[in-house]
Amino acid sequence: MNILLYLIPISLFLGGMGLLFFVITVRTKQYDDPEGNAQRILSGQYDDAPKQD
């Protein structure tokens, strides 16, 4: 059962990372245009240098 002492913190850490990334996506407004983002990926236009905002 000692393995639990490692596995539980690891699983919590990994879950926490997921949560952290989610928080980042919310903060950077990545859910403002779900439909547009879904379509944009289909665009055949490639740009080597992304636009500077």
């Binding site: 059962m1 639990l4 539980i8 699983s11 919590l12 879950g15 926490g16 997921g18 949560l19 989610f22 928080v23 919310v26 859910y31 403002d32 245009d33 779900p34 439909e35 547009g36 379509q39 944009r40 289909l42 665009s43 236009q45 636009k51 905002d53």
Partner: protein
């Protein structure tokens, strides 16, 4: 500057530049570098690219980004570059574009509350998953130190999560308690806190039962309900904002150096304003120059255009039809008659505030019941066992089991599903309780002009004229942009009439059009100018040479779906009433055409409101459908109200539901959907109650383990959500 002086483009000509919304005006500075355009026709990746590339090629544009979900493009550009420069670019790329007022949109862009709620929901969801996993090992028989360790880890996850995610409930509950009231959040907060405290105590004594999982699941499910609720409302709010933002309030002020475009908010009494044909009066005032005709239908419901000349008083909201006018402002902003009419709304609305939503009714019965039950369980067990720990444990279990998890989801899940369905049909539900109220409706009151009719006249008696006269009429009508002329032109062209050859065609603003035909003077226009008689319907007169004046009569064309809507409502057993400010004959004709048995003509705004109130006093639940300013008081006074998107801003604000499309056909459908939604809400309450009826005796008997609590809670929440999704 000439190009920039056109009236702003708008999706519905009827709603351009309504001066009602002062807030919109305040934020408008035409030199802004930030431009937002509405793109109603974009739908794919190629559309986005086409619009973005076209815009970024314009010199001075820094960036253009399309938002497909909102169907908008936001553009950062050099100051001086305005929407009027960019709309043709987008139009050139093949897409319709309308300017949106950036000031009115600001609230949507920073939907802070929604993001905050989503964050709390995510944290609660993450914590729930982990605590549930730990609990599974406890349920499956972990014992001794292992169980204690799992409990402590659960506590370590749960405590900070509840402190963060549960804040919303605690704050609301505290607010209610301070005001001496009870609301749904009080039992929720109490259950969560009691569960956490007893679980901590149990854990410290290495007890068997800890309810950390239940406490966190409760928070998660209830937050889901809150989030759904918030989303439904924010979708409605952003759609309503978009409607308001389409009306960019601007005016053209005449100064010594010429004309300048100014925001309506900057106007002052005494300013001289130029109002072009097709434009809406931004202020109350008096005409100082020019002749024209005015369309007052949005204010009075009357379809007959009124002649206007220097000295005529005009009210904000009226539409100038034929000639350019210069108006001296006598009242601006809040002082205009448009605003004063809107104030009637506030008075009428106070009646509606008395409505108690179903959820509140349930909460009122529920909250005291739960507290009494759990207190009784505590006292009973304490007397029976003399053991404080056991009694507290059982009281906590009762509170957790009865906690309104499913109740909190019952209403938002159904309203979200129903609003989503209605939104697809083109109905925007603005008010949280509108669906419940709509389901109770038994009487439907329609306004005529602009609601049942499209506001576009149709000629009715071309058969009374000789072909020769029709050819002359067409030649005259084609030279004018007046709505009656435009309608006559379309009708005659469709009938295959070719215009006669006329010379010297000239439009006399406010009167009509005249020309020369084979040396004779021919005129088409108002009765007084042409020499015609009286007519109580919308009409235009034609005179050829010295012959008698002949009359073209017009009727308003029906709005799309008006017949279906009225038929559907009558078939569903509702009483349908037509109420209009228009003349008796016009109203009677329309009523008989649509088969509406009850109608009232020449009704003043106060009459409409009084009539609606009288119906409510009789115990009828009235649905008011109207668009004009003369309807606003009635809209606000009715049990529930619908207005089309073409309505004035004030009317849309006063109504609970906005029809986004052009057709009235979804109205009976909406009532049916609302009835089904309310039925589902009641069913959901029933389901939640049944779970309690089964689980509460177990809890009181002391048989409720954390496993049963978790099962009951999740199962009831999931059943309730699934039941809501059955709504079609």
């Amino acid at each position: 500057m000439t190009a920039a002086m056109r009236p702003p483009a708008s999706a519905c000509p009827a709603c351009s530049a309504a001066p009602a919304a002062e807030a919109l005006a305040a934020a408008q500075a035409p030199s802004d570098a930030h431009v937002v355009l509405s793109l109603p026709t974009i739908h794919c990746a190629n559309c986005m690219r086409a619009v973005e590339t076209a815009l970024s090629k314009v010199p001075g544009v820094h960036s253009a980004r399309v938002n497909l979900t909102m169907k908008r493009v936001s553009i950062e550009a050099d100051p001086g570059l305005g929407a009027e420069d960019l709309i043709p670019v987008v139009a050139g790329a093949g897409y319709e574009a309308h300017e949106l007022d950036t000031g009115a949109l600001s609230a949507t862009q920073t939907d802070k509350a929604g993001r905050d709620l989503l964050m709390r929901l995510a944290v609660a969801g993450f914590a729930m998953m982990n605590v549930m996993l730990l609990s599974i090992s406890v349920w499956s028989g972990a014992e001794g130190p292992t169980r204690d360790m799992f409990h402590w880890i659960s506590a370590a996850i749960t405590l900070p999560t509840i402190a963060f995610s549960g804040q919303i409930f605690f704050r609301n509950a505290w607010g209610a308690l301070k005001a001496g009231r009870l609301n749904m959040d009080v039992p929720i907060s109490l259950a969560i806190l009691l569960a956490v405290v007893t679980s901590l105590w149990e854990t410290s004594l290495s007890g068997e039962h800890a309810y950390f999982d239940a406490a966190i699941a409760l928070t998660f499910f209830l937050l889901t309900g809150r989030y759904l609720d918030h989303r439904t409302r924010s979708i409605a709010r952003s759609a309503a904002e978009e409607l308001a933002a389409l009306e960019v309030p601007r005016a053209w002020r005449v100064t010594q150096d010429g004309e300048e475009q100014v925001s309506v908010a900057d106007l002052a009494v005494g300013d001289l304003l130029r109002v072009r044909p097709g434009g809406r009066m931004p202020v109350d005032g008096q005409i100082t120059e020019g002749q024209s005709e005015l369309d007052r239908s949005l204010l009075t419901g009357e379809t007959l255009p009124v002649y206007a000349a220097p000295g005529t008083s005009v009210s904000a909201g009226e539409v100038n039809l034929t000639g350019p006018l210069v108006v001296r402002a006598t009242a601006v902003g809040r002082e205009t008659s448009l605003h004063r009419m809107a104030d009637l709304v506030a008075v009428a609305e106070s009646g509606r505030a008395n409505y108690t939503p179903l959820a509140d009714k349930a909460a009122k019965l529920y909250a005291p019941g739960v507290h009494i039950l759990s207190a009784l369980a505590f006292i009973g067990w304490f007397l029976y066992t003399q053991d404080f720990r056991v009694a507290l444990n059982i009281a906590a279990a009762v509170l957790i089991i009865t906690c309104p998890c499913a109740l909190g989801l019952a209403v938002p899940a159904v309203t979200t599903a129903a609003s989503g369905r209605l939104f697809k049909k083109g109905l925007l539900i603005k008010d949280g309780t509108a669906l419940e109220r709509l389901s109770e409706v038994d009487t439907v009151v329609f306004d005529k002009t602009g609601t049942l009719t499209a506001g576009a006249p149709q000629v009715t008696n071309t058969g009374d004229f000789t072909r020769n006269d029709l050819e002359i009429a067409l030649a005259l009508a084609a030279g004018s942009a007046h709505p009656l002329s435009a309608s006559l032109t379309t009708a005659l062209r469709e009938a295959g009439i070719a215009p006669a050859t006329l010379s010297d065609i000239a439009e006399v603003p406010g009167h009509g059009t005249q020309g020369l035909w084979r040396g004779q003077q021919v005129r088409l226009g108002r009765a007084a100018w042409v020499g015609g008689g009286q007519s109580d319907v919308t009409s235009a007169w034609l005179r050829v040479g010295d012959g008698p004046a002949q009359v073209f009569t017009f009727t308003d064309s029906l709005r799309d779906g008006a017949e279906e809507a009225v038929r559907g409502l009558i078939e569903a057993g509702h009483r349908v009433i037509l109420m209009s400010g228009d003349t008796t004959r016009a109203v009677e004709t329309l009523a008989s055409r649509l088969g509406i048995p009850h109608w009232i003509a020449e009704a003043l705004p106060q009459d409409k409101a009084a009539r609606v109130k009288a119906l409510s006093d009789e115990g009828r639940k009235v649905l008011m459908v109207g668009d004009g300013l003369n309807d606003t008081a009635a809209l606000a006074g009715a049990h529930v109200s619908i207005s089309p998107a073409s309505a004035l801003d004030a009317a849309r604000v006063a109504s609970d539901i906005v029809l986004l499309g052009n057709s009235l056909a979804p109205v009976p459908d909406a009532i049916a959907t609302a009835t089904r939604a309310t039925k589902r809400i009641r069913e959901n309450f029933g389901i939640a109650t049944w779970y309690n009826v089964i689980a509460v005796p177990l809890a009181i008997a002391g048989l409720c383990s954390p496993l049963i609590a978790a099962l009951a809670m999740s199962a009831s929440s999931i059943t309730v959500s699934l039941n809501a999704l059955r709504l079609r």
